[in-house]
């Protein structure tokens, strides 16, 4: 099934994208409303939550260029030492810029 990218076709495509994305924003919450939140379930969603971030970032580091790795490595180190997000993020971005400038 295809939709032509005429004006009405594009509006339909945007509507489809909106509904699909909305389903992802609502789906997890709706599903959880049928689950009894036991300590085990709570433990699952808490570790899952912090794992989401790792699952986004780790492939980024592995598949990215040296600049991407420098950025994430510097942010991680700064965050462990300083424990302040903003300077850590700034340091990471500066590291990426520096590495790419030199490369």
């Amino acid at each position: 099934m295809t939709i032509e990218t005429t004006t009405s076709g594009i509006l339909l495509l945007i509507a489809i994208m909106t509904v699909v994305t909305l389903a992802t924003r609502y789906g997890g919450v709706l599903a959880m409303s049928f689950v009894r939140i036991s300590p085990r379930v709570e433990s699952f969603i808490n570790t899952m939550a912090s794992s989401v971030l790792i699952a986004i970032v780790v492939p980024m580091a592995f598949e990215g260029d040296a600049g991407a790795r420098a950025a994430l490595g510097t942010t991680a180190l700064a965050m462990l030492v300083l424990r302040k997000p903003l300077p850590s993020i700034a340091a990471g971005i500066a590291a990426a810029a520096a590495v790419r400038y030199l490369a």
Binding site: L13, M17, V29, A31, A76, G92, I93
Partner: protein
């Protein structure tokens, strides 16, 4: 639950505070929005269509992927599959907020979820790990991010990309660094570190061997399984 009692009250002052707090990261979102606006017009979308897409969909990576599939015609099912796969992390993000969201009246609950995205969720999830309940950041911070995304798209469709080469300034790494900083700012107990190792290995395996865009959900669920069997001991 038979009795509807909603104990979470969104505080307008905190919503405003969180709006301001996420303004710095929103500045970078403007730059990404401009890149999207440019990409969209290059693929033949009218300015208003690109703006409508950004306002209604509000999910950057999936919007880039969708306009990448643009041509004289668009195959609907592949587009749905890609948009769903990229955005499926929202399912887990929403679920993780459920212990707080269930205390909001349903209309507000599904209202604030319209603005759920990576950055504001990361702040809320991290604070929840430290025992603070913050749904105001989803609403206030989300509003800042949403407006920035629309503003960026607007600039992109009318003025092109704002920067010649955002990568050379490292700006493509802003969100990655932000999310990493949020993760490392949370608890680092042996239990969490084990979950992270499992999540990292699983997401990499999925990235390499499973269909595209599945690695976030696979990695996160694998990390969650650690929590399913290894419960946190209650603080004495």
């Amino acid at each position: 639950m038979s009795v509807a009692s909603y104990s979470y009250q969104l505080q307008p002052a905190r919503v405003r505070l969180e709006f301001v707090r996420l303004l710095p990261i929103s500045l970078f979102v403007v730059a990404f929005g401009a890149a999207f606006g440019l990409a969209a017009t290059q693929k033949g979308l009218e300015p208003l269509q690109a703006l409508l897409m950004s306002a209604a969909v509000f999910a950057g990576a999936s919007q880039f992927a969708a306009v990448d599939m643009w041509g004289a015609e668009v195959s609907v099912l592949p587009m749905i599959a890609v948009v769903f796969a990229i955005n499926s992390r929202h399912l887990l993000m929403g679920a993780s907020l459920y212990p707080m969201l269930k205390d909001l009246p349903p209309r507000q609950r599904y209202g604030v979820l319209l603005l759920l995205t990576d950055a504001n969720w990361a702040v809320s999830a991290q604070e929840y790990q430290s025992g603070r309940r913050n749904l105001e950041v989803i609403l206030g911070g989300g509003l800042a991010l949403w407006l920035a995304w629309i503003l960026g798209t607007l600039m992109g469709v009318y003025f092109g990309g704002l920067l010649q080469d955002p990568q050379s300034l490292g700006l493509d790494m802003v969100l990655g660094c932000f999310l990493l900083a949020m993760a490392l700012g949370g608890s680092k107990s042996p239990r969490v570190l084990t979950a992270w190792s499992v999540a990292a290995a699983a997401s990499l395996a999925a990235y390499w061997y499973l269909p595209p865009h599945t690695h976030v959900v696979v990695g996160a669920l694998a990390g969650g399984v650690v929590g399913l069997f290894w419960l946190e001991r209650k603080p004495a």
